[in-house]
Symmetry: C2
Subunit: 350 residues, 2 copies
Amino acid sequence: MTIKKDYVRPLDLKNGRIDMGHGAGGRAAAQLIEELFLKAFDNEYLRQGNDGAVFDIPAGHKLVMATDGHVVSPLFFPGGDVGALSVHGTINDVAMCGARPLHIAASFILEEGFPLAELKRVVDSMAAASREAGVPIITGDTKVVEKGKGDGVFISTTGIGVVAHGVNVSGANARPGDVVLLSGTIGEHGVAVLSQRESLEFETTIASDTAALHTLVAAMLEASRDGVRVLRDPTRGGLATTLNEVARQSGVGMLLEEAAIPVLPQVDAACELLGLDPLYIANEGKLVAVCAPQSAAAVLAAMRAHPLGGNAVRIGTVTEDPHHFVQMATRFGGRRVVDWLSGEQLPRIC
Amino acid sequence: MTIKKDYVRPLDLKNGRIDMGHGAGGRAAAQLIEELFLKAFDNEYLRQGNDGAVFDIPAGHKLVMATDGHVVSPLFFPGGDVGALSVHGTINDVAMCGARPLHIAASFILEEGFPLAELKRVVDSMAAASREAGVPIITGDTKVVEKGKGDGVFISTTGIGVVAHGVNVSGANARPGDVVLLSGTIGEHGVAVLSQRESLEFETTIASDTAALHTLVAAMLEASRDGVRVLRDPTRGGLATTLNEVARQSGVGMLLEEAAIPVLPQVDAACELLGLDPLYIANEGKLVAVCAPQSAAAVLAAMRAHPLGGNAVRIGTVTEDPHHFVQMATRFGGRRVVDWLSGEQLPRIC
């Protein structure tokens, strides 16, 4: 009677590759989880070693749950990678509900043949993002699909958070007269990812803005707990689509000032080259806030005082409009409608 | 100035297909979400229409969070499909922590070209499973990858639940002398899925056992709140791997009675044909419980009184064993070690 008490040899994180056995739930899967995921994400919840993680929450709060799949291509881009993005994206979704993110769950779908060294890079980046944000990855799952049935790694992350008393943030809360604030320049994430596409590769110094925005949100709510009515991060579809969503959800219109919307000169140049409009390009470290008029100045000041809101600006106002149009006063003194993104301008940007 | 106020035409759920635009975050994505997902899953949380869902929880409880990716192939199989599985799987992960599942978040990764009619079938099945279980899908996300970079649909679901006072269930809690219970016959799910594989197709009347086990767990905890020490659903890797995981986690051994482990004759026959061992085959509607000796009879009776535990049996005991071996007394009077699953016996079974 012989039996392997432990793994025969450690995972080859330099030259090894994902094989179907890593997803079969047996010894190889257990080894991948222990030697890669648990080691990188290590915390008391994961150490429970169960099908889920048990945790306490502060009493009497409302909770928020948000989930996001991450299929960005390529996996690595200037300023970030799918791992960091998967942590930031879900933290931001939770934060945009006015909540303080507590925990993240991560589900990995790996493609057979994916190099373990690249997986380690992704996982280490997730671990770093999670630690920096103070939001641990407390439970997870790994599946493997055959070569040609996936694309390296897809990561679905789900976040849980708590809403402080008196906070009531929703896309449905914008009212005519409210002020629209933007936390900084737009378009960097999308342009940074596009610059790495094989079909398109171009030289640029633009890095993704990917970042966890929960401390920025906390600072804003500190400045005015009930004056912040809507929070959204303009990811897929960009600022234009996000504001259209809010306009529809709240049953209002918006009037933006084109000149007020900050865009880096390099992003402007890249967009011109590619025939894209920065208003429709994904961001991963910016937010839009709709604030009560009497709170806007305090919230804007709080944003500017935060490292992730140094370039925050007032970009427009909420209007009464039965058509729920987002309109924009252009630099040339005209006015145009800013429509939703149609079609597939930028696939797999996050 | 013209602008589409609504979608030009409704989603073609008969002959339409997923295109990259459905993942771009613009109008097409919004239409897919509204006309398919929101309609099928409809509930007050989804209607909030935000990046995440806000909900209340009963005060003073511990919470559980669990996540699971679902990549089963084929998507449809006797007794179930990826949609039902994605709801049951996550409900079960939450329930195996001794918790009452409250809510589910769902992240979809769709392949370009996937027929909308099939997606609707999957989504309707999820909706039915969720309603039947009383666990609503409260938030979600949809991404689209190019044809050949995915495989129809992958669904990652995350569940949240509450643990009642006095419940302390963990894979680390088994103690020598405890009793090992199994809720019913093993191997149906894996065999049902395998029977549909193109390379393997065989005639069988075996249907997947996929089911939500949270009400069974509730009945068991009702019978003995502190006598239920470990709960696990033997999915990937089967009963053998699950028991090995528990043995290692608890630092104990186990001794099983082969004759006590129920296997349907059709499953036995299929396994013989395929050269597989039912002990290693995935189940999606069964659970293993380790109980304190004085509680085992009451828990077993509660299982048998539940529709999903009619065939529940005592299959063995927990032993003291520094090697953490799972051993089995065979039908022939011998004794053998039941090892972990090695390698990739059954890829993409869930």
